[in-house]
Subunit: 271 residues, 3 copies
Amino acid sequence: MDGLREGVVGAWREMRAARPLVLCITNRVTPQRLADVLLAAGASPVMADNPREVAQMAAIAGGILLNTGLHETQPASLAAAAEAIAALGKPAVLDPVGAGATAYRSDEIAALLGRARFAAIRGNASEIRALAGTGGGARGVDSADESDAARGAAVGLARDRGCVVAVSGERDLVTDGERVVRVGGGHEWLTRITGAGCALGGLTAACAAASDPWSGTLAAHAAFALAAGRAAARATGPGTLSVLLLDELAALEAEDLLGADLAKEAVAGAA
Amino acid sequence: MDGLREGVVGAWREMRAARPLVLCITNRVTPQRLADVLLAAGASPVMADNPREVAQMAAIAGGILLNTGLHETQPASLAAAAEAIAALGKPAVLDPVGAGATAYRSDEIAALLGRARFAAIRGNASEIRALAGTGGGARGVDSADESDAARGAAVGLARDRGCVVAVSGERDLVTDGERVVRVGGGHEWLTRITGAGCALGGLTAACAAASDPWSGTLAAHAAFALAAGRAAARATGPGTLSVLLLDELAALEAEDLLGADLAKEAVAGAA
Amino acid sequence: MDGLREGVVGAWREMRAARPLVLCITNRVTPQRLADVLLAAGASPVMADNPREVAQMAAIAGGILLNTGLHETQPASLAAAAEAIAALGKPAVLDPVGAGATAYRSDEIAALLGRARFAAIRGNASEIRALAGTGGGARGVDSADESDAARGAAVGLARDRGCVVAVSGERDLVTDGERVVRVGGGHEWLTRITGAGCALGGLTAACAAASDPWSGTLAAHAAFALAAGRAAARATGPGTLSVLLLDELAALEAEDLLGADLAKEAVAGAA
């Protein structure tokens, strides 16, 4: 077993053992799917986003997810959570939904990046490019670019922010600025399910909370892709896939991740 | 192939090819189901309803759905979207959820009708009757009347507003004030699924955005009913129906709509 | 047939016949699942929580559910609904989500208990203990205690408030302060589904609205557990369980509840 798979297997095992409480400050569209994925995988979601209790919730949480739905009252929740992340040093994941789509969205996300340090940032190609300043604007919130096009942006963003960056695509890309790993094995139907990316962001927060940002992000992406592939083999479309994905995540054991589709890539300019 | 089915088949094909971005200003109960249906069908939903970015989102959207959940912050979102619809002339669908149920709701919906012109209005019988001024009040948000009882109201509303009106029922009714078409083939279990009507409203916006209001509204209703009928044949109740509906929508090809259950009806007073 | 099962069978039959309109003032995470469960079971949910129409909605509702998600705008909705409950005397159920988790949450829930009398209170063990003043704080919103540990708290709370109290656990506990009944037959996967407890709270409101708090609460818990057990027998994990649960609830007839797993327990100090 190489070191890469060893870390992934260990991170999933630790997440299962710790059952981390993950505070999710998220959008209003997919909170149920996000929570279902976390519960099925073995983590414990709490979605309390009222600024009056965010700090107290953050204090008891093992990990934190910020997903920028940006509905009317969410900016205050996100700001309170970012402040708690900075004060408590909790492992946190940023899912910058729709970055680059509107000026308002870009400004709010930039403000979050200024307020707290994140363990990982997870987005689609156009969102990661927008954060790195190399994007051309998103088409809504689903990806208009492939993860290949965002490779340079992801590596640069990881170096600039000192965090792990993950880009969803046909093959996901995970980098810490020095290493790049591709994660394969998902299914095209995942792009036809609302909140698949949001759920992956939450799973990343759960795994990073229980291990470390690099192994945790890889484990979350490998587990999600493996479970999705198994679900797709039993599904007849995106609807059944979304349901069977939960069953497969619940059944996924650490050893199963030895079969994950992981591939290292060389990185120019790496130390 | 008669002209009716020709239009329906063409509208579905165009929606699939265009993959229209549909801005949904909707309620807080069923946004995930609505987005899942749009994604499965082949459209691209964006649910960003913060008034600070609604205009910019509307500008990049192909179609717009206004669904009047009327939670505390939604009236401002709806007003911003209605303003954008009027300014940009984008094809928009109004789903007047709960029209007639409370005075507050009736007033807000009347205000929306005053602010923008809609390509189509889709509701259940009691909602359409309330909009036409002939209703007796809704019982919550599920239909207390059959679509037959709303036939006159629907035709009158379509003429008054110069738009297509669709009424959900055992057999849906679609009219532009001159023509009336009945769409059959759904399933009783659809009435036991939250947000089935909301999803149909979104699909109407997607199809109308890609073709025209008349063919688009018919295509959305025909596709939804056909997919629901196929899903029901494999389902064991409303839960499995709601999931398999997504699979069937994803699998539905334009040619399949040649088998849609469409029936023209004579209209008194038509030109 | 003993009196206990007779009451349960009758309450389910009455709920099915009445199809009660249940006004749900609930959280932003699981409203769709809650509404799906109510619709599948045969009730009629309305989720309108805007304070501007809560009183009017409450007036036409048969029963009311207050679920304390406590998102930013919900306290005003809850207060308006509590006022309507007190004024109209409608049967209402309180689901004190996260009671004891934060000071803010405890204060808001205590305020609700001061504003209106509830027919039933339903929660997990740590929530019920927090309400009874015997808890040690919740771990997020999923239960950190077993229902056994909350038995004394539940009986005491029922006596103090003059209402039925239900505690979810491996075997649910239902008490009115004089009687205690255990309801078995659910499945461990229910703890891996978001909103299972929320849905049970809604079902309790529906059944209590159609019969009486004691029989209604028992019927809701017995029906939910029976349907979940049947669903689990066909499911492959929590995802399919959540979907098949809806099918089984829709198919559940009153006579099926003769097979419910109900057991009376002796109560110390009962009259």
